[in-house]
């Protein structure tokens, strides 16, 4: 019939002295504080210098301004819809369904690597292409590629410092022009990129560029054997390649719409196989020529959609969303991209209602 036990449940315990109560309460406080402190340590709360996803996205916002609802980098772009036709050539190296099935649907996005969605197309000599392949089994392969052959730096720390060098000086409101040269002077790994960028010109079309995955990945075959690779897509139509950019700031999307109105665009997916001693953890280094290259198949892009209402808008092109048969390498930029994209994705998905197109659509 008792609902509560007797006070002690056994022989009466002698009462604690006041000093003993204080000591024991102190003991409880120490245990709780130790656990809370460990949590704060792991969470980076005690270490403001730690490079976090938040810090990476914050520096992009500082340099480019905040444009609610837009990606924090590669903010200006256009969605493309199409499919991938596998040649079967990569099948020996990877169990991924995308290389086995004849046809896999693709949602992609061409963009400018800049954080401001109103950047003129001619302001940057680089274009990017992100792709999402959705396999029949529901697994996905997402990749973000750029028209440069190498990344300027090999680590997220160096990337962060490069962004910091471009941040506005609080005194003048403008970036200090001496900082970027100073950064490159102390980062010799950037030489291959700097050599390339000297001759790079803003292209007149998204369709004429080659897009490089830059980071290394592994293809995994049925026996679990791993082959380090880098991939790229190259245009199969060679018309007008190298044409200089026209006047105006928004010619890329118009050009793409015109081309796709006439015919689908075809790109070849090339997968370069690394030799045993090629660097797989450093995107600032190219692989020597002469590597075996697989023609994995053809990317066919059929139509465009505006980026503010198209299917690509809500896709986070996280390079570590991979199907069975493809794995990330230990390139530190891959993990950093994945972590920073997640932070950017949360910020912009929280701001969808502030996007210009959404507001227009909401009007009667």
């Amino acid at each position: 019939m008792v609902d509560r036990t007797s006070p002690s449940g056994g022989p009466q315990r002698p009462p604690l002295s006041a000093a003993s109560v204080v000591l024991r309460l102190g003991g409880i406080a120490v245990v709780v504080a130790a656990l809370a402190g460990a949590f704060a340590y792991v969470h980076g709360t005690l270490d403001p210098q730690r490079l976090t996803p938040k810090a990476l996205v914050d520096v992009l916002e500082k340099n480019n301004g905040v444009h609610p609802g837009f990606r924090r980098n590669h903010a200006k772009g256009v969605c493309v819809i199409g499919h991938f036709e596998s040649s079967g050539e990569a099948r020996v190296y990877s169990t991924a369904q995308v290389f086995n099935d004849p046809r896999t649907p693709v949602v992609g996005r061409f963009a400018l690597p800049a954080g401001n969605p109103y950047t003129p197309d001619s302001a940057v000599p680089i274009r990017s292409l992100a792709l999402r392949f959705t396999q029949a089994n529901g697994q996905q392969w997402r990749t973000g590629m750029n028209s440069m052959p190498v990344f300027p730096v090999g680590t997220p720390e160096a990337f962060y410092q490069l962004q910091q060098a471009q941040s506005p000086d609080p005194a003048t409101g403008k970036p200090d022009p001496s900082k970027v040269p100073a950064f490159f002077a102390s980062h010799p790994e950037a030489v291959p990129f700097l050599t390339w960028v000297k001759t790079a010109k803003p292209s007149a079309s998204y369709a004429t560029e080659t897009y490089n995955g830059i980071n290394a990945f592994y293809l995994v075959d049925a026996s679990g054997k791993k082959q380090a690779v880098r991939w790229s897509v190259t245009p199969l139509a060679q018309d007008a390649a190298g044409a200089t950019a026209p006047e105006g700031s928004d010619f890329l999307e118009k050009d793409l719409v015109q081309r796709l109105a006439a015919a689908p665009l075809r790109f070849q997916l090339n997968i370069t196989l690394a030799n045993a001693d090629d660097p797989v953890n450093d995107a600032s280094k190219t692989w020597p020529a002469g590597r075996k290259v697989l023609n994995a198949g053809t990317l066919v892009l059929e139509k465009t959609q505006p980026q503010l209402s198209g299917e690509c808008r809500d896709v986070n092109y996280d390079p570590l969303v991979l199907p069975a048969g493809i794995q990330g390498s230990d390139d530190p930029l891959l993990a950093a991209r994945s972590a920073a994209y997640a932070s950017s994705y949360l910020r912009r998905t929280s701001e969808v209602s502030q996007l210009p197109a959404t507001r227009q659509e909401a009007r009667p």
Binding site: T5, V32, A336
Partner: protein, 181 residues
């Protein structure tokens, strides 16, 4: 009416301690991965997802065990507000250990991401892809995880208060199967 036990059922105690380790590990994994850009981020996120589903499954078993067994009563002389706080915090712990994995699963679904527990084990999506729903679920997942951590700290402090200050049978009822000699 049968006499209420003085200690928790052995299965309940096993689930309690196993899940205590898993949930504290999970909170630290989550706190670490969102604050990291290194390969640790990837390593932790690949632990976070299957561990979350394991916690969800064990939490369901645990609720069933809780409903099927009798719990030792709280001490008779426990002040009313403390008895209330005990009941409310336990209810909150159960709710959060069920809701947090579901929110994690739902937010990945809402992002349109495949819900992968490993390189090839895939769970179905439980909500349709929607960016605004994702943002809401992702924030709820984060804030409720902080709430769970605070509730765990409170639970720990209260357990030690029972064991070290009140020196009643409450902590003992979860530590062992029968009374101390």
């Amino acid at each position: 009416m049968s006499i209420r036990p003085t200690h928790f059922n052995p299965l309940a105690r096993l689930l309690h301690w196993l899940m205590a380790i898993m949930i504290i590990a999970m909170l630290f994994i989550g706190a670490g991965m969102v604050a990291s850009v290194s390969q640790r981020h990837e390593w932790l996120i690949n632990l976070h997802k299957p561990l979350g589903i394991a916690i969800l499954l064990l939490a369901i078993v645990r609720v069933a065990v809780r409903l099927a067994t009798r719990q030792p009563p709280l001490p008779e002389d426990l002040p009313g507000w403390q008895a209330m706080a005990a009941k409310a915090s336990h209810l909150l712990l159960y709710a959060l250990m069920l809701v947090l994995p579901l929110l994690g699963w739902a937010m990945i679904s809402a992002a349109g991401d495949p819900v992968m527990l490993g390189s090839s084990l895939q769970l179905p999506s439980i909500v349709p892809a929607d960016a605004q729903v994702f943002a809401l679920l992702r924030k709820a997942h984060g804030y409720l995880a902080y709430l769970l951590f605070l509730t765990v700290l409170l639970h720990l402090a209260a357990a030690l208060f029972h064991g070290w200050i009140r020196r009643d049978e409450v902590l003992d009822s979860m530590l062992r199967g029968r009374d101390r000699g």
